[in-house]
Symmetry: C2
Subunit: 383 residues, 2 copies
């Protein structure tokens, strides 16, 4: 480790991507744990579950029938958090009162999708080969393209990008121009996921949500202050040289535990070249992204020999925005996994973390070292 003292003393690290701090207390990992034990997901699931609303051919909550899809399948979320059509909101408080100043709301419309990652109920990304993950990346790219503002500098690229056309694209046509598309996956019951069938979600809104907005401010600032350089290009380059936080890398992507990671085994996948969004990748790059996702998720499962829970999500250029916003955006993926010591002992970001500041126990360097060491075959392949 380049600064071994950080293995021993309490310190804070600065998250350049958010402009925020995290408290690191390495010695704290030694404390005994007598609290809540997680219940690992049982790993013997059937390939097809007649009760699952995501399996091919089954009927969903509101009566629609899934097609007999063979790769991915996208549909509008039956319980969407935002909708395309709703009553218009005109704030009633108009007078210059305290209430008008203090109680501020704005309407949000948008569209929420569910995307299955495979027809097989019992698979996860960790079980899938890069070639099986590729169609997911293609579907994400198609959905992103279908929602891009025609005024975005990305729109031209998008139309030139050759992604295998998916029969489903029609469902993806939005009624209106939205601002941002958040692609994400919750995996495992610990992360609020209620169906083990491999799937992710896509929420598209008229608003630019908090997290991408915070990151975008930092990305714009860095680009302005560093004569056009990109924070995450510089960061990936630095990490690739330093090595100690690297988990896996190929020609196009760096994957590792960020210097400022909050979750014990948090990982970020960063495009090494400046890429604003999914549409900037060519086929080879999409394959390398698939390989990187496979490497990260497989290592996660190998680490504690369990179905490793996490929330993951893509950050990229807004669907609609200023040229500065779009040019400053840089494609990356965050993985936020809660487990700390074993399949049953997690890190709680509670009390101090909610009220004061995120806090971690093992250092990012220790976490990366362990993840590097557990590559190779998926542990359960040979069981």
């Amino acid at each position: 480790m380049s600064e071994p003292i950080l293995n021993d003393i309490s310190h804070r690290r600065f998250n350049l991507l958010r402009g925020s701090w995290v408290l690191v207390s390495p010695h704290r990992n030694k404390r005994p744990w007598q609290g809540l034990q997680e219940t690992p997901t049982k790993i013997t699931l059937p390939e097809y579950d007649p009760e699952c609303y995501l399996c091919p051919g089954n009927i969903r909550a509101q009566g629609q029938q899934n097609p007999k899809f063979d790769r991915t399948f996208v549909f509008v979320n039956d319980f969407s958090a935002v909708k395309e059509d709703q009553e218009e909101y005109h704030p009633e408080r108009k007078e210059a009162s305290l209430a008008t100043r203090l109680l501020r709301a704005e309407s949000v419309t948008g569209k929420c999708y569910v995307i299955t990652f495979s027809p097989s109920h019992h698979l996860t990304l960790a079980d899938m080969a890069p070639a099986e993950i590729l169609p997911i990346i293609e579907t994400w790219t198609n959905l992103y393209t279908a929602h891009l503002s025609p005024k975005s500098p990305l729109a031209q690229i998008a139309s030139a990008t050759t992604v295998a056309p998916l029969s489903q694209e029609d469902i993806a046509k939005p009624n209106a121009q939205y601002r941002y598309m958040q692609i994400f996956e919750n995996k495992g019951t610990t992360m609020g996921c209620s169906n083990p069938h491999p799937h992710g979600q896509i929420w598209t809104t008229t608003s630019l949500p908090e997290e991408p907005a915070i990151e975008l401010e930092q990305l714009k600032k860095y680009k302005r202050e560093q004569g056009g350089a990109h924070l995450l290009v510089d960061y990936a380059e630095t990490e690739s040289k330093e090595k100690e936080r690297t988990v896996f890398e190929n020609r196009s992507f760096w994957a590792g535990v960020p210097y400022w990671a909050v979750w014990p085994f948090e990982v970020m996948i960063v495009s090494r070249q400046h890429k604003r969004a999914l549409v900037d990748f060519d086929e080879k790059e999409r394959e390398e992204l698939a390989e990187t996702i496979a490497e990260v998720t497989r290592r996660y499962d190998n680490l504690f020999e369990t179905q490793f829970p996490y929330s993951m999500g893509l950050h990229q250029a807004p669907l609609e925005g200023t040229d500065e916003e779009i040019e400053s955006s840089h494609f990356h993926i965050h993985f936020y996994p809660p487990l700390l010591r074993s399949a049953t002992v997690r890190k709680f970001q509670v009390g101090y973390e909610m009220l004061a500041e995120p806090q971690r126990d093992i250092t990012p360097e220790q976490a990366a070292e362990r993840l590097r060491a557990c590559g190779g075959e998926l542990y359960r392949r040979n069981l």
Copy 2:
């Protein structure tokens, strides 16, 4: 509700205290839940548990024996996240390299305490009468006072404040001047608490942590822009008039579900007069604070007839800071409880919430209405 349409449409609300947004999707509360079920804490605990490291007279992890205390008891956390003494940190990276710019850390020292709320193993704040909660507030006040910078405008007030002297004050003398004291409680296994004996924690650091720093920026800004007015005084006044988010109030405090609440039954207790920190309260005000805490925690337990889990914490003036920081600070308490629909179904702030923006289902007005309705005796008193 003053704007009934907000009960039906998806919208965002602006959190003036943090300068951030939260997404509200009221219709989403109707979706069925098939995910993780919480295991409620069993409510039949003994009054004394020989295995508990917090019960009077017992031996703790590192061999010390607890005294036979009869109200509160404070000790230095056996597994402190920050310590008073550690090796000094001098960053090794000095050259003007990318790594120097991108990988930034700083040392943090400080002191962590545990405070028991009662000698009785089986009690919680919800079980305690205001007169039993009062000693906790007095101990918090004493600890805060013992750590105050002698240069703070609060130091004079503090020495004039008459809080019953606690025999334990000697342990509270810090070696150095720290910047901030975070007082908090994690309650319930869901919130990472590993011992049901009623207790809280106090982490005191050389750094001003993220959350109080973010709030302090907003408080300073409001005071500057509104000719010296205090955001939370104006806010409590507005809410006290609007009533629909109020859960309980007395002469000194407003307690309710903030307009911008993230957690389903989140509550904030706000001092109605401008008070910078605990030391600004007189005895009557401390009694009213005890009453307000009792009212909130009892209603929580009554809501789903369970031991309601939460993290709660006090925000107040930094121990050391500029005059503007100290004068802009305003005493308040946040309660962040995860339960959504019943004792076993929680809200997960995962996926979209971690990657994009906090999201809630029931509106703050609906939550406040339910909490207002469940005052009165603690449900388990008559079981």
